[in-house]
């Protein structure tokens, strides 16, 4: 499933990042890599940015970017 489909409070493991190589590099540098576990902290309304908790800190990305990240939901 896509990261953008997760609900607030759900946790997931990143499987694949699909984006421009520049953007993937940026996400990687900020700690979003394949295999990392993350948690959705909050979503801004009307498909606004999504706040994630990853590697012990909080990060916001846009909905469009979240649509390009494939994840596996963790229960």
């Amino acid at each position: 499933m896509l990261l953008s489909m997760l609900k607030v409070g759900e946790q997931a493991k990143v499987l694949q990042l699909n984006n421009s190589s520049k953007m993937i590099k940026r996400l990687n540098d900020m700690g979003i890599t394949t295999g990392v576990n993350l948690k959705i902290v909050r979503c801004a309304p009307f498909h606004g940015p999504i706040e994630l908790e990853v590697r012990g800190f909080n990060l916001a990305i846009r909905y469009l970017e979240a649509q390009k990240i494939i994840v596996e939901k963790r229960l």
Binding site: K22, M23, K25, R26, L27, N28, D29, M30, G31, T33, T34, G35, V36, V41, R42, A44, P45, F46, H47, G48, P49, E51, R55, G56, F57, N58, L59, A60, I61, R62, L64, E65
Partner: protein, 617 residues
């Protein structure tokens, strides 16, 4: 010996730099406060140079402010690197360290915010970290200046290390870091992180987040105007008394009347009028600094990102725009943290519309003189500027240049209680800037104005202002502003001096005019003048900053033309509304506009349904 400070954005490099060098550079709790490298000298040993570099996440970054750090390392090989890492966020901070280790430059790790860790009962094993990474580690608190001298002492002892192999893919590097951190620190949340989570639930609420933001900004404006004007009156009265007493004593010793005129009426009064706005500006800056330092600015960026993308801007545009409420020059340098080019340029284009401290001084003066000091008049300027930015954004987004909506990765830092020391420093710097400005630009315009008033084509005017150069200049210029409703020569001249510094507008009007009510037709034209001041290209200093940030002459010229045009049109519309209101026609106009909108919508709908029909066929 040259030491470079390197680390992730918002890890406290600038705070450390300030503590080491005893100087003051701007800090804040958002990523990317430092956008250029700054050189300083260690205060306890002048032979040690310290360089503060913009924060970077990795060594081959593409964003313009991050490039500065990388280029610096490559070109001026420093003798040592202090890699400053945020102790509350080690996992990501150490990623950069793994890259720095491959450079072959002597390196020491400074783990910052160790006081925060101690307070929360964390046990941090710096020896274990040092052994595992093979480089010295010092725990420091940049804010409290703890251990910073040990850090410098240790970094002097560093020897040239062997170049290390790159660890390979990013996943492998994070795996390595995870293995390093085992036994160094436990993974749990600090108290302030838990408090942040609770506060964020309110500050970033889906429904309440935006109203809270608008309330906070309006409150900041309201407080600085209302409290500031009370304190400002004291200063103004002081200078008034000073001017009168100087005049009396000059008359006593028999000085020529033009000398006391120049000194008392022009210089002392001119400088006094401008200094009277110091309290307003200081309160404004203190409150804006709290917003930056606490980390609220990043929350604002989060809640407003979706909303701002409608206007071709992004959440990160809000930081430069908020800073522009204080000063356009600092605000424009903050645009560099926006990665996306079209959003960055549009922010540079539009944020000068924000009412900066100097403009606010002008509005304060106008509302005191024309609207009985009603604080809502000046506060309404803030909303007018937001409205103009929104409409211009909507229009400009349709152009090819600004259509691209880009990427956005924003760190949401832990909320922090702002340090009084930093707020004090900001206020001190601003006071210095402001007094210097009053002493230089305002002083010189005072003299220039005096010359232009007292001399004309036939020499010394001897008090007859209608023979002066200034009067003649104003006579020509005033026709330009006829459609805007302020057609006295005095206002025309003040617009010109306002280009130097916005405060000069008040100064000019105070010097050249005795009866302010005669300058304007009615309240509407005063408001039209205020909106022209708000939107017209700001002072020279910020025009030059905009040129530097845009790096493109064509876009820069376009910016100036656009801003002047917008200012002219908006002021014209306000004046027109006033005219119609006076003649009882405003209501008709509104009805006509609504009817026109309905007709346009109907035609559009018909066109769409026609297309659908064609498609169906």
């Amino acid at each position: 010996m040259k030491i470079a400070l390197i680390g992730n954005p918002n890890s406290g490099k600038t705070t450390l730099f300030n503590a080491l060098t005893g100087t003051y550079q701007k800090t804040g709790n958002w990523t990317g406060v430092t956008t250029e490298s700054k050189l300083g000298v260690y205060k306890k040993d002048k032979t040690t140079q310290i360089v503060d570099l913009p924060g970077i996440y990795a060594l081959d970054s593409k964003s313009p402010d991050e490039k500065v750090a990388l280029e610096y390392l490559k070109e001026n090989k420093p003798n040592a690197i202090i890699n400053i890492v945020d102790g509350t966020n080690l996992e990501r901070n150490l990623l950069l360290t793994t890259e720095l280790l491959t450079l072959g430059i002597p390196l020491i790790i400074a783990v910052n915010m160790c006081d925060e860790l101690e307070k929360n009962g964390f046990e941090f094993n710096s020896n274990a970290l040092s052994n595992k990474l093979g480089v010295p580690v010092v725990t420091i608190s940049a804010l409290k200046g703890k251990n910073i001298d040990v850090l410098i002492k240790e970094s002097r002892k560093l020897k040239s290390p062997l170049k290390r192999q790159n660890l390979g893919s990013i996943e492998k590097r994070f795996e390595y870091i995870e293995s390093v951190l085992v036994g160094v620190i436990d993974k749990k949340k600090t108290k302030s992180q838990i408090a942040t989570e609770r506060l964020d639930k309110i500050l970033m609420d889906k429904v309440w987040g935006v109203p809270i933001f608008f309330f906070v900004m309006a409150l900041i404006y309201f407080l600085s105007i209302s409290i500031g004007s009370v304190l400002g009156d004291f200063i103004e009265n002081f200078f008034c008394a000073f001017s009168i007493s100087t005049k009396i004593s000059l008359d006593k010793i028999g000085a020529k009347s033009w000398i006391s005129g120049l000194l008392c009426d022009s210089i002392i009064n001119g400088v006094g009028t401008v200094l009277a706005f110091l309290p307003q500006i200081l309160i404004l800056f203190a409150l804006l600094t709290i917003i930056e330092q606490s980390g609220y600015a990043s929350r604002i960026a989060f809640i407003l990102d979706r909303f701002l993308s409608v206007f071709g801007l992004g959440g990160k545009s809000i930081i430069p725009m908020t800073v522009c409420c204080g000063c356009t020059v600092t605000g424009l340098t903050a645009t560099r943290t926006i990665e996306n080019k079209s959003e960055r340029e549009l922010t540079t284009f539009l944020s000068p519309f924000m009412p900066c401290g100097a403009k606010m001084a002008v509005f304060g003066w106008f509302s005191a003189k024309f609207f009985n000091g009603n604080p809502f008049i000046a506060t309404s300027m803030y909303f007018l500027s937001v409205l103009v930015i929104a409409i211009s954004g909507l229009i400009l987004k349709k152009t090819k240049r600004f259509c691209g909506n880009g990427n956005f990765v924003l760190e949401i830092p832990t909320l922090r209680i702002p340090s009084l020391k930093d707020i004090f420093f900001v206020l001190w710097e601003k006071t210095k800037d402001f007094v210097l400005k009053a002493g230089s630009v305002i002083f010189l315009t005072s003299i220039a104005l005096w010359v232009l008033i007292n001399f004309g084509f036939y020499g010394y005017t001897d008090g007859n202002i209608e023979l002066s150069f200034l009067f003649n200049i104003g006579q020509i210029l005033k026709y330009l502003f006829y459609p805007l409703g302020f057609f006295s020569w005095e206002t025309a001249v003040s617009v010109l001096t306002g280009l130097m510094a916005k405060e000069a507008i008040i100064e000019t009007l105070e010097i050249v005019s005795d009866d302010y009510t005669a300058l304007f037709l009615n309240g509407w034209s005063v408001y039209s003048f205020m909106s022209f001041v708000l939107l017209a290209p700001p002072c020279m200093a910020s025009i030059f900053t905009a040129k530097k940030e845009l790096c493109n002459k064509r876009v820069f010229v376009l910016t100036l033309v656009f801003q002047t045009l917008v200012a002219y049109v908006v002021a014209f519309v306000i004046n027109l509304m006033g005219y119609l209101w006076k003649n009882g026609l405003l209501l008709y106009l509104i009805v006509v506009i609504i009817l026109m909108l309905i007709v346009i919508l109907l035609i559009r709908n018909m066109k769409i349904s026609k297309k659908e029909k064609e498609n169906a066929v």
